[in-house]
Symmetry: C2
Subunit: 404 residues, 2 copies
């Protein structure tokens, strides 16, 4: 089985390393030899024996009938999308770790793969090495999945963990994460939740069988979370996590990415540092959780290579099919019901009465100096916003959603 690798960055290097390191057991499981015939990269690797595999011309790969599997580890929409379509149309399976591509064009590429009796596989696009795409497709098939909630971004989870453990500020830990290589120079995709948003769109589409558009998912990042929020969370027996979720609520589907306060006994509360955790709830199976390293060269390569093995074992047979192009209509975010934890600056004595008058019953929280903090009842987002507007001229220190 000859394969071509597109992109020799971190993940691409990992794929080469894993195929070499575990060659024997991989080929035993695939039932055949796995050889990398081409590596597409614009760079030269003069001193590296790998250089003899380098090509700068994708057409050389596309037109080589010996290539049965194309593995993409470049990221970004283009040229990955063009390469994916071209490969699938030429009867080659396409394997990718590229969450942008899968979130945007997954349904279409799966359809093309199906029509051409090959496979479009993307285990590495969500949760790094954690098996989650294949379990959703092949293991949880007896269930109606009614919720998927995950910590899907390792960078923000690392930041939140350090903020909590060391009592440090967001900016401070972000800097450390950048130095450690966990966060990019431009950290927006991680800290604003965009990365988690694409991943939950992929998981929801697979679970629902229809396309969830990532642009439809309300997304908030963790840049507003402070040291003081962590102190409150600790006091209440909660932790703050950036959760990406998709749930059936009142017969409709809603999805969201946002920081959430979750109880310390919640299964996702123990998912710390750069680890990811994905909680899946089904009407038969109950709660199942998957946990592991959500990123990194080797864990991601592990998932890519597992896809290669699967594609090799399924030559001529399409294996992922439960995600079509029909669009899922998500519930209006304003109508979603949530409870909020709210911190107000206490610059007037009657604040307690005002809050009671506007919010009705609230759960008061032991407050930091010169603050008044409480947890609201379950309410729609629009009602919550209206109530917040009715508060007298008060400084809102922060408001964070809290699990029901």
């Amino acid at each position: 089985m000859k394969i071509a690798l597109l992109g020799l960055g971190t993940v691409g290097r990992g794929v080469v390393e894993v195929i070499n390191e575990n060659k024997e057991s991989i080929e035993k499981r695939a039932g055949q030899a796995i050889d990398i015939k081409y590596i597409l990269d614009i760079r030269e690797f003069a001193d590296d024996p790998i250089n003899k595999l380098i090509t700068k011309n994708f057409d050389e790969i596309a037109n080589d009938d010996e290539i049965a599997i194309v593995v993409e580890a470049m990221g970004g929409i283009e040229p990955a999308y063009t390469y994916a379509k071209s490969s699938l149309l030429k009867g080659k399976s396409y394997i990718t770790s590229n969450k942008e591509l899968v979130a945007l064009h997954g349904a279409e590429l799966l359809e093309i793969a199906r029509n051409n009796h090959v496979n479009f596989l993307f285990e590495a696009s969500v949760g790094g090495g954690i098996p989650i795409i294949r379990p959703l497709n092949q293991s949880l098939t007896a269930d109606e999945i009614y919720e998927i909630t995950g910590i899907l971004n390792g960078t923000t989870n690392f930041i939140l963990t350090k903020m909590r453990e060391d009592g440090r500020a967001f900016e401070d830990v972000l800097k450390e994460a950048q130095e450690l290589g966990y966060a990019e120079k431009n950290p927006e995709a991680d800290v604003e939740g965009y990365d988690a948003c694409r991943k939950i769109a992929i998981l929801s589409s697979l679970a629902l069988g229809e396309h969830v558009n990532f642009q439809d998912i309300p997304t908030e990042g963790i840049t507003q979370i402070t040291k003081e929020d962590m102190i409150y969370a600790e006091e209440m027996g909660y932790v703050i996590k950036l959760l990406a979720t998709c749930q059936k609520q009142d017969a409709s589907i809603f999805a969201r990415v946002s920081p959430m306060l979750i109880s310390k006994v919640h299964p996702l509360a123990m998912v710390n540092d750069v680890f990811n955790g994905i909680l899946v709830k089904g009407n038969v199976i109950g709660d199942v959780m998957f946990y592991g390293r959500g990123a990194g060269k080797l864990p991601t390569a592990s998932a890519v290579v597992a896809d290669i093995v699967d594609a090799a074992k399924h030559t001529g047979t399409n294996i992922i099919s439960f995600w079509n192009r029909d669009k899922v209509e998500l519930k209006d975010k304003k109508q979603v019901k949530t409870r909020y934890f709210v911190r107000l600056q206490k610059d007037m004595d009657s604040i307690q009465n005002s809050v009671k008058e506007i919010f009705g019953t609230v759960e008061e929280v032991k407050s930091l100096n010169n603050e008044y903090a409480f947890i609201t009842e379950l309410d729609t987002e629009v009602q919550f916003a209206e109530k917040m507007n009715r508060l007298p001229e008060l400084k809102v220190m922060n408001k964070i959603r809290i699990e029901k």
Copy 2:
């Protein structure tokens, strides 16, 4: 696709229920209708519409060419083993939740399935609904797995959780578990670790690709764990779990089932009540954990039905193949290295000196009244036993293995 169900006990009922409840999505995923044509049971279900499917004669099923899949939910070696062989030889896939059967005859039945181009599937035999068999076979294929450690028995995990949370004695909680239906009248298979032993034998065989004989795995249960042990564990920041493990240690393989003290920050420490957790370590992927309900009618049925879907999608194609009949030689249990937590009755003043003299450096633990407690260095089991023998006439209150 016509199927036959062997046994209408708890799991069998669950299978019927799940197929009816989620019929539409299951058939969409299987790509065809799934109909139960026979149910083999010795009983009559006169008032139940299901009675018309009942047969008492297995041959009727075996000789019906329309039956493509036989689903067994009876348990026990016979007649399950005979039915399995007969079904596979007649070109029918065989799906089972029967861990005794899989642990004892798995390698042979997989071979027969392979030779007959059908499938022998057993996702429900370990971890109830938790996807673990399929991930080991199809997702973690890029890795050399060097450790699997799991909480594989929900009954004992429930008992240990209640003992810890409520400060109650083993016998007391066992009685409650029996009343709740979590433990059998004869609880031996659970509390002595036999159930966990069969399950870790299955997982290890799948990971190693060769047969691990469950009779070779040293197995201890939880009957010796006391309220006082729980107090010590809490004080040390540990919890006590019944762990089933298989690991590569010093270039050899060892397996064991025994109660272990694990740190509260260990991923398996948060697996409480009847939940199961399975930690898998690979040389590429790092640590991955799978968590969910390890038993119960519906979670187990969820796994069985997922196997039915998979078998339906893979008619004519064998999908599990990486477990052959070669036997894994396990490391002599006496040579396995462990650290122990030891509690001695303190009926002499010089006890501290004796322990130091015999064990060398130990980590002293804040002791209960009239006890002396400590943690040993890493040592082989045989050396530990010798040292314990050299202690002067002292009452050993308990000794529990502790994670390295």
